[in-house]
Amino acid sequence: MAKIQIDGTFYEVKSEKNLLDNCLALGFDIPYFCFHPAMGSIGACRLCAVKKFANADDKRGRIVMSCMEPVVEGMIISTDDPDVKAFRESILEGLMANHPHDCPVCDEGGECHLQDMTVMTGHNYRRYTFKKRTHNNQYLGPYIKHEMNRCIQCYRCVRFYRNYAGGKDLNVFGSGNRVYFGRQQDGALESEFSGNLVEVCPTGVFTDKIFNKHYARKWDLAHTPSVCQQCSLGCNIIVSERYGMIRRVMNRYNGSVNGYFICDRGRFGHEFINSPDRIKKVHLRASKASELLEVDESCTLSDFMGKKVIGIGSPGASLESNFALLNLVGKENFSHGISEAEHKLTNQSIRLLQSRKVYSPSLKEIEKSDAILVLGEDIAKTAPMMALAVRQAARSESIKLGEKLGIPEWNDYAVRELDQNHQGPDFIVTPSATKIHELVEMAGQAFAKAENPLIITGISGGNEDILDACSTIADALKKQGKKLSVSIVFPECNSVGLALLDGLTLEETEERIDGRQKAEEKIDTVIILENDLYKRASKERIDAMLKKCRQVIVIDHLMNETARQADVLLPAAAFAESAGTVVNNEGRAQRFYSAVPLTGQLKPGWSWCNDQWENLDQVVNALVDAYPVFSAIKNQMPDADFRCSNEKIARQTMRSSGRTAMNANISVSEPKPPQDNDSPLAFSMEGYKGSPPSGLIPYYWSSGWNSVQATNKYLDEPDGHVRNGGDPGVRLFDDIDKE
């Protein structure tokens, strides 16, 4: 900590952070381009100028770049000195000299950091009348559009893509006025984090091609806080809607999970919701031999219930939907719908994480580990954001070395020059070639000097021996006074949540349906909830199993192999159309909300399974009664009655347009906005627009900050934690620890 004077007032600031970072944390609106809270500074854009005075008598001062300025006790600076303002404006004028006249057709428009900074610095009249420099664009694959004319040479893209995310195929070429950011030749970007360029680039050079296909301005979109369902890490996302259609996914900041970034699967993987393969209507089969046909009448699940029913849940469905099914068919008739091997390993993993022996770290904590063993899991594929966290952790030695030499971590270029791509003591080990005792030995060596040792393994590549070894290593480390962190990658977004409920394995389910052991328990109806069983076992096995049931009821959102076998097919709302809770690999329960009002016959899985429950809170209440392990969810997440200043929180922005025209083709009288009974969010532009509790932030906006850079206004400090309730989600395993 240091005490410094900014614009005549004294502030306590953090000495390990640079001046710009500190000023932003204090709420000063200093314009900047190249600084990024997660990537530090390089001082490329020269926009973040402030005036620094040598002492109280110094009236002239000198202009310095705040992002390259360490804070020193007693420092005196001015952020709004006329010289500084003129300097910033002239920098912007320079950057704009070649900037094209594109805003109306630029996908960045309305959420453009360059637009914001232009307004903030006050540059508003073009004096440069010569010809503009132009660039050819490249084809960068199906996800990212390239429009190089708009570049302002801030270098953020290559710093993210290469330095932060380890990509190889995007670089900077040329020099002087010709500097070019792109690939050596046209071609799809290889990095699994390429989508972040859309948010990292302060201009419209890199834009989202998927979004472009059904584009809408940020101010027109209705935004909803959600959780990515593509892997077990549970990165936080914002899902945006316009005219009843899901338009895009952007990152939602969670200082303990994904921070400023998400992977491409999360960003671009939502389009299945708009797929023609979506099941939107009830389908029925009159007899086993006839075809599956759409019907218009509404119906409920109880119309089809048999006498002996078994319910198959899914690790890909929400806790509430799984529980509703369990509640419907009874504990002993509920199946997890996963193989015995996966079931066993998952349960063993959860027992390990729940035990006090090891600590289950968040992604942010993984970044801070100084020795990591990755055992048998290809995390780049099964948990991409974890791979990104490990990449940051691998720099821990270099950062320590830098600190020793007086180079702070934020001085990114200097630290990277220093380390020359040196990576810390990380080991990637495959279990097949390794015996347990070798493993323990290896860990012993790697962890000898480490303060925050971490073992990463997973269900898809791990085995029981690895988990046992973790216990052994944890015991050994305990003697040295260290706690071992263990992070386990699970196969699906709610694998952990499902495992905390009772349930059979797929093999046991097959046996029950077979009815050979206990004929009196022979099953006549099976209900399959959002689970494509054909992906979990061979076609023969599933065919045989389903054939033995008198009736197969499937509740799902996509016409997959299992859905095609149904006798009764009920349309389920996908994750972006319903609310629910999922538990990530760390044991963090997170709530997602529906981004679009439900229409037609679509219903969330839990609503199909129980028509008594009117909203999500009632399901959660029943869940907590039956499984107290989830009580933190009820206690800590705001329920549907929660209000901010007596208002629901508006999903739409205050500039949302077209309210009196968008439905006018159907009826000129404006309809009442759809109601959301499951959450404190409103499908409307009317409602609370301030800074809501951390888990309910629909979008980032602050006066003068229309771009994603407004995120920092919602944090206790840039790259810190979300204000107003801390990082979203509740950690379930910590609670167990306390008991």
Partner: protein
């Protein structure tokens, strides 16, 4: 008594004044070209739709009565997939015209918008789009912009240099 006679006298005088009553609709009144009446969408000098679906008119509209959806043609040209104005809400303030960066949306001196049925006052693009340039002649946004959307190549604009050749050694 006197004032009464005076009033009758003045009323009588009016019989010889110029008549104020207009023979509308038999005789149409003159309205200046910049009178703010019915809204149209115009075309550029090449006869193509001027609107680039930037949404600025919709955003500025104080009664939110414009809604549209952007789409892109095969040549990359942006245009509105649909464009709807609910004239039963429009207050003819002209802010949409002022916000429009392409001169596409224009208010014209036609005020005959009344209808017995409100639903008839919802205009779609086919009702709005005219075949000419309206009040502003000669402007084609895609010639000024940097993007190549089928009108000019990148670097082919009047205010642009040819694209940088990264492989040449000379600047």
């Amino acid at each position: 008594m006197l004032s009464l006679i005076r009033s009758i006298f003045y009323t009588f005088l009016h019989a010889f004044h110029k008549r104020e009553t207009q023979d509308y609709p038999e005789k149409m009144p003159y309205l200046p070209p910049r009178y703010r009446g019915r809204i149209i969408l115009s075309r550029d000098p090449d006869g193509k739709e001027r609107c680039v679906a930037c949404n600025l008119c919709a955003a500025v509209c104080p009664v939110d009565c414009i809604s549209l959806q952007a789409a892109e043609g095969d040549d990359g040209r942006r245009y509105p997939e649909f464009f709807r104005i609910n004239f039963s809400r429009c207050i003819y303030c002209g802010l949409c015209e002022e916000a429009c960066p392409t001169y596409a949306i224009q208010l014209i001196p036609d005020f005959e918008m009344a209808d017995y049925n409100r639903q008839n006052m919802v205009y779609e693009k086919e009702h709005l789009l005219i075949s000419g340039q309206g009040k502003y002649h000669g402007f084609n946004f895609y010639k000024e912009a940097g993007v190549n959307m089928g009108v000019k190549a990148t670097g082919g604009g009047e205010n642009e240099n040819q694209p940088v050749d990264l492989k040449s050694l000379i600047h």
